[in-house]
Subunit: 273 residues, 2 copies
């Protein structure tokens, strides 16, 4: 048997914030900061598969999470190395077998129907294959939720300095394990998925927080990570709630300032603690 | 020569808001409202091309704008009819030639590389083919911008009642011509693009407002609509600004409460008016 090994990662760095000067409503110049947004084209065994627009905080984790969530690579140990080069905006993924690009090619061809042109969704297929989360008695105290929401509020974020990004947090109780921000909600959640994959971390006793709205695709990704409690500063959509109901996710929205709303499965919350 | 004719549109209706009951942070039940989120699968001459998750306010306009912005149909007069059926979540698009599905099939196959799995972007290709907006002396007074921002603030929105949606507005001066909300920023902007297509409306003397962030893809779509001024309640990303610079879009961010920041091309704004 192969030992579980970690792929070689390039640990590429780029500055997530860009400084500039703008005019205010009186025509007066003001210094400003904005999030960087860089195209990162993924090459899986030399086969170009997608271009993601990213803040670039944790590009290797983003690549891993993308491959995992799109089911383009099955096991972490199949990946030999990920080499990110911001100079050319490319991430080269090398697998041990060296033929993942060809298999992916076939997979992408079959997916064309629903994936479409950058706006589509794998909704139907993914929903059918989702597994319900186990009812294993995992519970979280209201005070823990309040403490986590307060922790998140005090994080030093790109958002506070430049706006225009979304943040995701993986937490154990009120302890922040990972915090990733990115241009799109999906990149942030994919990056955390990639980090969990690297760490062989189970989601079963974790909480997931996002600044973004709880649309169906967001809830699907959290189910795929096996995390039973999803918290958002924002609200949920009807379909987000529908997925949470089918899969048994505790869905918490509008979480801020010692307040929140529980949209689904409140039995995991201890309101008296 | 053919007259410019309008396709037959089904004018399908669905309720954009769903009522429900949630528990608050004290475990007390509270009535709530959330935006509906429905899958709409597009069939172009019976060929399935994409599934969009939508609030469903203006589905025919969304379909038109999607076909236009993805360049799947070249002229409005090529489209004979759009029939949306929410019962089955399908939009059937019939073209006059009847073979757009086959051509689209070929187009989508070639696009697979960058379109990927629902998260990708046509960024490179689209950016190269974008035309710079003309410097035709179109100007807008600061007072008009303030008036428009105030108009938008007082609109009766799904957002105010249920959260979790983005809104887009097409305006002539401070007059709101179209207001569309949807689950994703892209659906809202595509819907307005579809409405403009139907009305043979020029963007050259219009303003575009969005609640969403000004990412590159957002700015690209506004350039494709030929609109010179883009206003957001939120901020811009580096790449959003980069596209605005290349194409000559006046980019206004953080617009609220008699304040805004001009990120690019302030010469179109009359600060003294």
């Amino acid at each position: 048997m192969l030992m579980e090994s970690r792929p070689l990662l390039s640990a590429a760095h780029c500055d997530p914030i860009v400084a500039g000067t703008v005019l205010d409503q009186d025509g007066q110049p003001q210094p400003t900061q904005m999030p960087g947004e860089r195209p990162l084209t993924l090459y899986l065994d030399k086969r170009e598969i997608v271009t993601l627009m990213s803040l670039g905080q944790k590009p290797e984790a983003l690549v891993l999470g993308y491959l995992r969530n799109q089911r383009l690579v099955e096991n972490l140990r199949d990946i030999a190395a990920i080499q990110v080069d911001w100079e050319v905006g490319a991430a080269a993924i090398t697998t041990l077998s060296g033929d993942a690009g060809e298999r992916c090619d076939e997979l992408l061809r079959r997916r064309t129907v629903s994936a479409g042109c950058g706006q589509g969704t794998q909704f139907g297929d993914q929903l059918e294959s989702l597994k319900e989360l186990p009812s294993d008695g995992f519970r979280v105290a209201r005070s823990t939720l309040f403490a986590l929401i307060e922790q998140v509020r005090t994080l030093d974020t790109i958002y506070k300095r430049s706006g225009a990004v979304h943040g995701c947090v993986l937490a154990a109780g009120s302890r922040v394990l990972h915090h990733v921000e990115d241009i799109g909600r999906h990149n942030a959640v994919d990056s955390i998925s990639g980090l969990m994959w690297l760490e062989h971390a189970s989601g079963a006793d974790k909480l997931f927080y996002t600044t973004g709205r709880l649309t169906s695709e967001m809830v699907i990704k959290v189910v795929e990570m096996g995390i039973p409690v999803l918290i958002s500063r924002s609200g949920t959509t009807e379909m987000g709630l529908d997925v949470a109901r089918r899969c048994g996710v505790t869905l918490i929205g509008r979480a801020r300032n010692q307040r929140f709303l529980v949209f689904n499965d409140p039995q995991r919350i201890d309101f008296n603690a």
